[in-house]
Symmetry: C2
Subunit: 366 residues, 2 copies
């Protein structure tokens, strides 16, 4: 299937497929350099390519592209195809984040396939090599993530953007990478130190999700378009609110499920013991009203397997009023986000695209 031609008129539904085609082209452009090093490196390249190309909702490039259009980028002098290509670099940052997260969380699968570290662990075991197969898998996955992170810069800089646009994009690009890594440090440290309060969970959402997924992608798109502070400030408020609402929606789905939309069974986050804002809010509310229920939720989180136990914890969360409070917060944040957008001089033709993306990630068909 030929890639759709990249133009400002690209249909929103075609964005994810077009992102995949750009990533495929970029990765193919790296194949010869990889092969010059060694066939063993090609094996890692293939795993990285499969991981990058065969999944992902391409949320970050979608927001960045909408941000560029909304900031009037199409009326400027940058080649739309170069802009689109540059924004696909966000997916290589994401490949690194996911591959390294999967090592850190010791996850076995991602999108229904073995994680990268598990894949190389299995290859080691199948080959009957010496040494520790699990350590080998981790080592290769650390490097594979590094390759994706290094290549994210390559794709940005080889996109064909003008030097001026590249210079404008660097600041939010740099901020974004620092913020997501900082959010990850905070997440891991809070989990280990046992600081599971609402404030910490919200801070993780702000940097690990909102800044990284919506706020900075929009900012990068706007910076490439040469937007002024009115649009950038409005985007940043919009992006933070929608990004947090997106994570709150994800937390709801992680408990209440929606196999049709996410493919996740209900209760997944309860099994994994995630200290989300939802869970932290429930614990906060119950501390005064029903301390026994609070203790039960706190102590059994991450230790439940049976459907009846999952149902019990789910019931505690609902009865605390936390789930309802989260729905109200999602609605309020979405409202504030759209109000921020409404006050900014966004291109009228593309305002609807930003609103639709906001709706998709907070109601969650994306």
């Amino acid at each position: 299937m030929p890639a759709p031609r990249i133009s400002p008129g690209l249909a929103p539904g075609e964005v994810p497929g077009a992102v995949t085609e750009e990533l495929r082209d970029f990765l193919e452009s790296r194949r010869a350099a990889v092969a010059r090093v060694d066939p063993r490196f090609t094996a890692v390249f293939e795993a990285l390519a499969e991981f990058t190309l065969e999944g992902g909702k391409r949320v970050r490039p979608a927001f960045a592209w909408a941000g560029w259009l909304g900031a009037g980028g199409a009326a400027g002098e940058e080649d739309p195809a170069a802009v689109f290509r540059a924004l696909c670099a966000l997916e290589l940052v994401q490949a690194c984040a996911l591959i390294h997260d999967d090592i850190i969380d010791a996850s076995d699968t991602r999108r229904g396939r073995p994680t990268v570290h598990r894949r190389f662990e299995l290859a080691h075991a199948n080959a009957g090599w010496r040494g520790d197969a699990a350590r080998y898998g981790q080592a290769i996955a650390i490097i594979a993530g590094d390759v994706a992170l290094a290549w994210s810069d390559d794709l940005l800089h080889e996109s064909g953007l003008s030097a001026a646009a590249l210079a404008r994009a660097r600041r939010p690009w740099s901020e974004m990478r620092t913020e997501v890594l900082g959010g990850q440090v905070l997440d891991i440290t809070a989990e280990n130190s046992g600081e599971g309060g609402v404030a910490v969970a919200e801070r993780i959402n702000l940097f690990k999700t909102a800044a990284y997924t919506v706020e900075r992608p929009l900012h990068i798109g706007a910076a490439i378009a040469g937007a002024g502070p009115e649009i950038i400030d409005a985007y940043r408020v919009f992006g933070r609110e929608i990004g947090i609402a997106f994570q709150l929606r994800d937390d709801q789905l992680g408990v209440f499920g929606d196999a049709e939309v996410t493919g996740k069974p209900a209760g997944d986050d309860l099994r994994e013991g995630k200290r989300t804002v939802l869970v932290a809010t429930a614990l906060d509310r119950l501390a005064g009203s029903d301390p026994a229920a609070a203790r039960e939720l706190d102590s059994r989180l991450g230790r439940v397997r049976e459907a009846a136990d999952i149902d019990r914890l789910t019931r505690i969360i609902v009865d605390s009023g936390a789930a309802e409070a989260m729905e109200a917060e999602i609605a309020e944040r979405t409202r504030r986000a759209l109000a921020s957008l409404g006050r900014a001089p966004i291109e009228p033709a593309h305002r609807g695209l930003l609103e639709r993306l906001a709706h998709q990630v907070t109601v969650r068909s994306l």
Copy 2:
């Protein structure tokens, strides 16, 4: 101590200290962004800064700077201070490489201090946190390395180089990062699969050491200077030969030691079981002449602790003639490197600097 003013006349002996001062300035420029995320991220930042600032011979920036000078960069229009700053980005790639290598090798110390993953493992244990302290240390060190890798691009692009010079530097910069990661994959995979032959060890040296440490730094310096193919090709031959000779010297020191120069006791590589070109050559030579000695070296490598056992393996290597062959190869490669340099239109005033660096890393006072 104020940093020496960066000019083309900077004394070679002042380069390492000046690199450290540039890195300090850059890292300080990141402190506020890190603190905005969270104090827990600041703790990781401090560890990364200490790791980056308190060690390292700054070999890569030294070659890159000499490469820029030798290619006539000082007569061009780039600000020497900006060029120098850009080349310091190599040390942030190196920080990532070392931090991630130390996880992969499960190393406890580096430069006499706890490795980054061990440092956070200890912090976890001291704080009495929940979960696995070792896993926590690894997780934080993975992220700390990612921060260094992401920031290496930031420093390159915030250096003050012109857009044209940045565009010229991107290709060798990208090649270098891909090559060192590929060399690392090859190294880890060969170690696990048990492919310890001379050809594999040489290939690892080519990509993990030579391209990364000498060839591409020179290439980056030349590219920033706007050098033509005559100089770049000569640099690449020179860099590959000197880079490989540098690694062969390192292998010799890893067996025969020189506590004065390297701080390493003799026999370190034998204790660690490294399959260097030196060891692979000894095994190759002994396969025909003394199979019993070959079997002894092969089976005891990485399993010796006592001085008498180390001495025994060292004796086997010397008697194989491998150590002598390596000295001859170092001399021959150095000769070819200098000949390549001799044929190129290098700035006469800086030719001596390149020759001196070549001497330092192959005789090894650097």
